[in-house]
């Protein structure tokens, strides 16, 4: 007869990795446990000795150390230790000492291995340091997202209506009217069918060369007064942005958001299989961020735009509830921020008249990286054409910048405390001045310019002449990667903010064992992580801005081992997702969202994953210090 140890079973069932086991399994585990009471100060495990148990802290507190004596973790009720040794050669890797009188449950080696063999969730939890546990957390979340699962081809309701590129605009308009569609795919009739086996209409077998929409007829044909015989190829949008049939609806949504387009051809390889438009997705997702964006562009005043603030928050919360990935949320929120800025610029130009010289309004920092969340200040700047003459033109651009900046502030994007805004004359300069800035910052780094570099070297065009930003990016990619002293200085800066060690009860635990009540997860987690990714990205000369894309670019070089990059990716995704979830929780509970996290609000599973993510960040910082050793001596900048 099986003896039931109810107290043991029930306690185990509340903590990972046991919380993932069935009651039957736990009923079997509990009677095999051994128990030991240890006084504070007792060495439980010593480095290198034989170990045949997994330890589980039932009550009290235990500290785990590295071989060199550094504190590795402080554990309490429900935490486990000793598994690293069991998974390798049954020799203790991390010594352990009780720091309070503690009651320990010991799970015999044989049972531990059986649980690992029979239960993936258990094995995932205990096996690899960090990566696999985080991977599980991140992957589970990605899987759960419905929007990620549904393929964009599901939204395609009919084969595309096409016209050959040789057609006239009158013929094209005729087809669109007859088929009652708002867009027309333009194909090259010379391109033959590549796959003869499939049987749709021959037109759909042809390569797409462009698209034309109702709006194009309004803006490019009628407004310009073009003759009806104009070839459609002259007014179509060539090489339009497309989606692959197997991309997710969510990606399609982000693509439309990002590019502010309402028609998106869906292709299988290069063959068009249909066109989806904004309303297809809105029908599918009645409360989607696209709906919001559509609204942004319909608003006629700043006052109207500010009324969308609750919608922005609702969209954010909804995405979090649908378990969209951190990358997806960051991208969507950045697009929304970008759309607000664009609309404000349209409104400002409407009020002030056309600009006296060409310009580009650029986003910096998180918006440029596509990593904006709900709590964000505005970081922006103006690049002006080199023909800019301050005395003649600056009054216009100051007004423009002020209208946009005030508008953004009214819409919830607070003024940048550091004054990184186009309203600041220093950041409202012609391209040649910007090039000088960038050259100087790279060639002669000092504390102030390094701070600038960490903000301005994440840059993206929001409105106007995108080529201006592009030329700055070229300069950066070209110069920064070859300038070792600059990279070393950036690396040093990236080490200023470090992660904590983990959590202990209701405290955040620092590496020296100090305990705090709250942690700013941006300052201590995502920001140092994006900082160090930026350094590596600059070193490998990529022009990518998004941290995940930067990691992709770094992966193509031999700068870091692939596992290290995978780990960084998971850590960033996880840290961001926790920030996002806590902000959504704040909104749900009518608190002003922020980046602070109170340890009591963090679940046990989240604690373990956060600890791992902090560890990954800490290791990556060590690697950076090793990669740029010159900074050892000059660290106290």
């Amino acid at each position: 007869m099986q003896v039931e140890f109810i107290e043991i079973r029930d306690h185990l069932s509340r903590f990972p990795p046991f919380d993932g086991l069935d009651e039957d399994v736990l009923n079997d585990v509990a009677p095999q446990i051994e128990i030991s009471y240890v006084r504070a100060g007792t060495d439980i495990l010593q480095f290198g000795e034989d170990s045949h148990y997994l330890y589980y802290v039932r009550s009290g507190a235990v500290e785990i150390y590295r071989r060199n004596g550094d504190l590795y973790n402080r554990l309490t009720e429900g935490d486990i230790f000793g598994h690293f040794g069991l998974l390798r050669d049954n020799k203790v890797r991390f010594p352990a000492r009780a720091i309070e009188d503690s009651l320990l449950y010991l799970i015999p080696d044989r049972l531990f291995k059986q649980l690992c063999d029979e239960h993936d969730s258990f094995a995932d939890f205990v096996e690899a340091e960090g990566q696999s546990r985080l991977k599980t957390a991140v992957d589970t979340q990605a899987k759960a997202s419905e929007l990620m699962k549904i393929k964009v081809r599901k939204l395609v309701s009919r084969t595309p209506v096409t016209a050959p590129m040789t057609a006239t605009i009158r013929e094209a308009a005729g087809i669109m009217t007859q088929e009652s569609v708002s867009s027309l795919v333009i194909v090259d009739p010379e391109s033959g069918p590549a796959e003869t086996s499939s049987g749709p209409a021959p037109a759909a077998q042809q390569v797409m060369v462009g698209i034309i929409t109702d709006r194009d007829f309004r803006t490019r044909v009628v407004a310009e007064g073009l003759p009806a015989q104009t070839p459609v190829s002259e007014v179509m949008t060539g090489h339009p942005i497309t989606m692959q049939a197997d991309d997710s609806v969510f990606e399609a949504m982000l693509c439309m958001l990002r590019n502010n387009i309402h028609h998106l051809p869906v292709v299988h390889r290069r063959r068009p299989i249909g066109v989806i438009n904004l309303s297809d997705i809105i029908k599918y997702e009645s409360q989607s961020s696209l709906y919001l964006v559509n609204n942004i562009f319909n608003k006629q005043s700043i006052k109207d735009l500010t009324r969308l603030l609750p919608d922005v928050r609702a969209t954010f919360v909804r995405m979090v509830n649908e378990e969209a990935s951190a990358q997806m949320v960051g991208s969507a929120m950045s697009s929304i921020g970008r759309n607000f800025t664009q609309r404000l610029l349209e409104l400002a130009e409407g009020q002030l008249g056309p600009p006296p010289v060409p310009y580009c309004f650029m986003a910096l920092g998180s918006m440029a990286r596509d990593e904006q969340l709900i709590v964000s200040d505005q970081d922006n700047a103006l690049i002006l054409d080199d023909s800019f003459v301050p005395e003649q033109h600056d009054a216009y651009f100051l007004q423009l910048a002020t209208l946009v900046s005030d508008g953004l502030a009214a819409c919830g994007y607070t003024y940048c405390k550091g004054g990184i805004m186009a309203t600041n004359s220093k950041w409202r300069q012609p391209l040649k001045v910007w090039k000088n800035y960038f050259n100087n910052w790279i060639e002669r780094p000092n504390p102030e310019t390094l701070l600038n570099s960490s903000i301005f070297f994440d840059l993206d065009s929001v409105y106007g002449e995108a080529e201006m930003v592009e030329s700055l990016r070229d300069l950066l990619a070209e110069k920064a990667s070859r300038n070792e002293p600059f990279l070393a200085a950036m690396a040093r800066n990236a080490l200023n903010r470090t992660p904590p060690l983990g959590f202990f009860r209701t405290f955040v635990m620092e590496k020296d064992g100090e305990q705090k009540n709250v942690i700013n997860l941006k300052r201590r987690g995502t920001a140092p992580l994006t900082d160090l990714i930026r350094v590596h990205a600059l070193a490998c000369g990529t022009k990518a801005q998004n941290s995940f894309e930067r990691l992709d670019a770094i992966a193509k070089t031999k700068l870091m081992p692939p596992e290290a990059i995978t780990r960084l990716r998971y850590a960033l995704e996880f840290l961001t997702s926790v920030r996002i979830r806590h902000q959504a929780m704040d909104i749900d509970q009518d608190r002003e969202p922020d980046n602070n996290i109170e340890p009591e609000m963090v679940t046990t599973a989240e604690r373990h994953n956060l600890k791992e993510a902090f560890q990954i960040l800490s290791n990556a910082q060590k690697f950076l210090r090793y990669r740029y050793p010159s900074l050892q001596s000059t660290r106290a900048l």
């Binding site: 107290e7 095999q32 051994e34 128990i35 030991s36 009471y37 240890v38 503690s102």
Partner: protein
């Protein structure tokens, strides 16, 4: 342990259990008991950390062994280093019909559990085998000892003697009731409660749902480890503690 504590321990005339077992093995009549006594007891000077121990708890229908009966028994093997759930024993038993079972609601055992359970007679051999060669660990020995003695008289026609370490007794020795101290009187210091749950709390041991024989046996086992780790040397002679 202070001299006063030692004297109070000796005041109860604790027998030399090894000698007593040898003599009982000769005089006992029932084969179960003969076998039990033949398995012997450790020598009185055995260091505690070498003594095989067995935590024991019983749930009963009341506090008077003459009027009430055993409902369940929990046994958990241990030594000073480890408590081993493997090898534990938990039995619900049906009391003799003449003994009331009115306190059932108090325990987590239902009438149907009891109706389905065997009488104690059927588990006695198993119980005595588990106890053989071990020093029992109980919290308040007057219950376990008296009830088991009474039950064996009922079923086997003769009672039982066995050595116990009583964690309540140890707790009373560690926190002697200071009735006289002027300072305590002035400070109105309440006497420390030596009930199982209160004693455990003093050592930072977790709170358990009480009144389940196995859980209470486990709770007692943990308490002994904590008491020894805190107040005694692990190689203290077992005769200093047993009764």
């Amino acid at each position: 342990m202070t001299e006063r504590q030692r004297r109070s321990a000796q005041a109860e005339h604790t027998p030399d259990w090894r000698t007593l077992f040898a003599s009982l093995a000769r005089t006992a009549r029932h084969p179960h008991l003969v076998k039990y006594y033949q398995s012997g007891a450790v020598a009185a000077d055995t260091p505690l950390d070498e003594v095989p121990l067995m935590a024991l708890d019983m749930e009963t229908t009341g506090l008077d062994p003459k009027k009430h009966a055993i409902l369940s028994i929990g046994l958990v093997p241990m030594n000073l280093e480890r408590i081993r759930c493997q090898g534990s024993l938990y039995r619900v038993v049906k009391p003799p019909s003449e003994l009331s079972s009115e306190s059932v609601a108090f325990h987590r055992i239902t009438h149907s559990d009891i109706e389905a359970a065997p009488p104690l007679a059927e588990v006695l051999e198993e119980l005595l085998d588990a106890m053989a060669g071990k020093v029992m660990v109980v919290h308040y020995r007057n219950i376990e000892r008296a009830f088991l003695d009474r039950a064996l008289q009922h079923y086997l026609g003769e009672g039982i003697h066995f050595p116990v370490i009583d964690t309540m007794d140890l707790e009373a020795r560690i926190h002697p009731r200071q009735k006289t101290g002027l300072l305590n009187w002035l400070l109105r210091r309440p006497p420390e409660s030596i009930r199982l749950a209160d004693s455990r709390r003093r050592y930072g041991l977790p709170q358990y749902q009480s009144h389940h024989a196995l859980t209470d046996a486990l709770a007692t086992a943990e308490l002994l480890q904590a008491q020894v780790a805190t107040h005694f040397r692990t190689d203290i002679a077992v005769c200093e503690l047993w009764r």
